[in-house]
């Protein structure tokens, strides 16, 4: 199964190599076995010719048991047949004794014929090719008047034949190996060439997954084969669409940011404007009745409260949008302060805000994140809630988590918005009004390792619940 994981540029040459090796083995086997057959036949023919030639001359000496004559014949014949690589010739009598050998020291006259020769009687000349001993042994019976009078045996050195066979084998191996190598290389180059457009496509896709999707340059598209060109063109079309969408969503983000900023600014202006009217009234009162001590004190007190209200609004806004990473503890008052920012919207829509925030004093988590998340959700709830209805907020600590629930009686979250809140796939969804704020909520919650869930409220509205784990044991110790 390893082969399946290899890239095509290796797999196809590998297949070529295996295929070629199989063909080479098969062809070599055929060639060698045919070659061996031919050699065996050749040895057989030569041995038969030799033995037949010897037989006619040897019958008489064998009948006479003339060892010199027999020796003389085979000794001279050895010189004549030097090309045959004859190693030994032995003439035996019918009773199996050696009459003469071309090498009398090895097989002396009148000794029994050794079993290494062919001892079975045979009508026709018989040849036994023994590759392992690198020799061929042959026998021909000598007959006189229909009676077997003896036999002539010849052994041939077939080492040159075996060497020839080995050299054929080697040349087959070398040729086939070279051929296989060349074909594998050709296959590798071809596949690599064929795969190049695919690699271009793959690298562009990989880049796109990381950051921006770039279209494939025009020169690659034009150089590519027809099928691949269509693929490239389709990819480029897709890449352009993705780029357009990215531009669009960037614009949307900007717009949404401006919108939410505007909402906040108008809320703030409203919050500052309300006490300002009272403050001007108080200033008028002071101008007219400032000399009266009781009125002056009351009026100054009124001015002080008005200014304090303005200060609180400004400070809360600052705290909420300051990305101050050094502050790691969330106070209950930080959450309560949010009421101030929501208040103008609540009042504008005649909403009743149910506010429950208890069970803790200080939690080990970033107040900036929690406040941004809660403010976003609260403003969303206010916007969703119909005029004169109720918006609920509840925050408490549940085991190792800070849990906040925001509910409204609006028409419920559209599917797109809910997905943006719970599983936006890492990107803001364009085209859904509150989607961007919800997407930011999701991103911030994810940063602190929390979860967010959006549930439909019965009979109408939405419940959004966020759960943020407390950072450590130390943090939970602070829970009241």
């Amino acid at each position: 199964m390893i082969a399946l994981r290899l890239p095509m540029a290796f797999k196809i040459p590998l297949v070529v190599t295996v295929f070629m090796a199989a063909v080479a083995v098969f062809v070599s086997e055929r060639v060698l076995s045919r070659f061996q057959e031919a050699q065996t036949r050749h040895v057989g023919d030569l041995a038969t010719i030799y033995l037949d030639g010897m037989a006619s001359a040897l019958v008489e000496p064998v009948v006479r048991e003339d060892e010199w004559e027999a020796f003389d014949i085979i000794d001279r014949a050895r010189q004549i047949h030097a090309g045959l690589r004859l190693t030994e010739t032995v003439v035996a009598l019918a009773d199996g004794r050696v009459l003469a050998s071309s090498d009398p020291r090895a097989h002396s006259s009148w000794s029994p014929l050794p079993p290494s020769f062919l001892t079975q009687r045979t009508q026709a000349p018989m040849v036994d090719v023994r590759d392992d001993e690198a020799q061929a042994v042959s026998r021909r019976d000598l007959a006189s008047g229909g009676t077997i009078v003896g036999s002539v045996h010849a052994t041939f050195d077939i080492a040159p034949l075996l060497a020839e066979r080995r050299s054929v084998l080697w040349s087959l191996i070398v040729t086939n190996a070279a051929l296989t190598l060349v074909l594998a290389l050709a296959a590798w180059l071809t596949v690599r060439r064929m795969m190049r457009p695919i690699q271009v496509l793959a690298s562009h896709l990989e880049e796109g997954a990381g950051q921006r999707v770039e279209p494939i340059p025009e020169q690659f598209v034009e150089a590519a084969p027809l099928e691949v060109r269509r693929l490239f063109q389709a990819f480029n079309g897709m890449a352009e669409a993705v780029q357009e969408r990215e531009v669009l969503s960037r614009q949307l983000v900007e717009e949404e940011r401006l919108a939410s900023l505007g909402r906040l600014a108008s809320g703030m202006a409203h919050e500052i404007n309300n006490p300002l009217g009272g403050l001007f009234n108080a200033l008028d009162t002071l101008k007219e009745h400032g000399e009266r001590g009781d009125i002056r004190r009351r009026t100054i007190d009124l001015i002080e409260r008005g200014l304090r209200g303005i200060r609180d609004v400004v400070r809360t806004t600052l705290v909420t949008y300051r990305a101050d990473q050094d502050i790691h503890s969330l106070k209950r008052a930080d959450v309560d302060d949010l009421r101030l920012l929501v208040e103008p919207e609540v009042r504008r829509k005649w909403l009743a805000l149910r506010w429950v925030n208890e069970g803790y004093d200080e939690l080990p988590m970033s107040p900036s994140v929690v406040r941004q998340v809660l403010l976003n959700l609260l403003l969303n709830a206010c916007r969703a809630a119909p005029e004169g209805s109720q918006v609920g907020f509840e925050a408490h600590v549940d085991g190792p988590c800070f849990v906040a629930t925001i509910e409204d009686m609006g028409p419920g979250l559209p599917i797109g918005a809910r997905n943006a809140l719970t599983d936006p796939g890492g990107k803001p969804l364009p085209g859904s009004g509150g989607g961007l704020g919800l997407w930011m909520v999701h991103r911030l919650i994810k940063e602190v390792g929390g979860t967010v869930a959006a549930l439909p409220r019965i009979p109408a509205g939405t419940i959004v619940r966020i759960t943020i784990p407390l950072k450590d044991e130390e943090g939970t110790a602070n829970v009241a």
């Binding site: 003339d66 010199w68 006259s109």
Partner: protein
């Protein structure tokens, strides 16, 4: 074709007396033709030698010369005795046996003398130093009618009251001195009786073959195998001119070439008494037999 070799146990002279050479080629005399028999006493296989010998003799005698070779000594001797050859180069042994019916034409001179020796040879690596060490051997003889290739060894054994058949486990006749050397060199025979002259020539011509053997025993000097003719024809003009041609070979260019090939100094006319030593051997063998 050649008949099988003669029985080894027959007395040589008996065989020769009976010889009618049945079945051999008829060697017919043509007018003006000299029929010259050659025994395997020297290297008959050398066709160049035969050619040169014939042309040399033809030029010297003015006769047409026909060289006749046979496988065994006996065949040549029989042909000569039966008149089917005018003359023949035979061995000292058949000459001595048939001395009364043959006359000497010429005797080769080798190393300055019309004499040679017989050798008993064995394998080079063998420890044997005397004839006695060869007891029980497979022994190769050249020819039952050969002096150096049979008679000398048989005589040596007869002096101790032995025969080759009893002394050796087995004997082989190879019908050629060169064959004796081949038999011993190859291991077919453990020892052999061979012409010392042939052995010495082969030291030069076939040193590899000779190198595989060594000489155990050398005989005394004996009369060199002579050229003989029937006793009645010694004064024939043809024989006389042949005699003159042989003796005059050193002066003739072709003759010199032949002598060089044979490693002989020349031919000389010798007295039959040259072969007394061989005659004595025959007497011993016959007495011992």
């Amino acid at each position: 074709m050649d008949r099988p070799g003669p029985s080894r146990r027959k007395v040589v002279s008996g065989a020769l007396a009976l010889a009618t050479v049945a079945g051999t080629h008829q060697v017919r005399a043509a007018s003006g033709e000299l029929r010259f028999g050659l025994t395997p006493v020297f290297l008959t296989s050398d066709l160049e030698l035969l050619d040169r010998l014939r042309s040399c003799l033809e030029q010297a005698t003015g006769l047409s010369v026909r060289l006749v070779t046979r496988r065994t000594y006996q065949e040549i001797t029989s042909l000569l005795l039966s008149g089917q050859l005018d003359t023949a180069w035979i061995c000292g042994f058949p000459y001595v046996v048939n001395r009364s019916r043959l006359a000497l034409v010429a005797v080769p001179v080798w190393q300055g003398k019309p004499l040679y020796r017989s050798y008993i040879i064995t394998d080079r690596d063998r420890q044997a130093r005397t004839l006695d060490d060869l007891r029980g051997d497979v022994h190769a003889f050249s020819d039952p009618d050969s002096n150096s290739g049979w008679l000398v060894t048989a005589t040596a054994l007869a002096r101790d009251g032995l025969t080759p058949e009893r002394f050796f486990s087995r004997t082989i006749f190879t019908y050629g001195h060169r064959n004796v050397i081949r038999a011993v060199a190859s291991g077919l025979a453990m020892s052999g009786s061979v012409d010392g002259y042939v052995y010495e020539i082969m030291r030069e011509t076939e040193p590899d073959l000779i190198a595989r053997t060594k000489v155990v025993r050398q005989s005394e000097l004996l009369g060199f195998p002579p050229v003989a003719c029937p006793a009645g024809s010694i004064d024939d003009p043809g024989i006389r001119s042949l005699q003159a041609a042989l003796v005059g070979m050193p002066e003739h260019p072709d003759g010199q070439a032949v002598l060089r090939l044979l490693r002989l100094d020349g031919f000389s006319i010798e007295d039959p008494s040259l072969f007394e030593a061989i005659a004595a051997e025959v007497a011993i063998v016959r007495g011992g037999g």
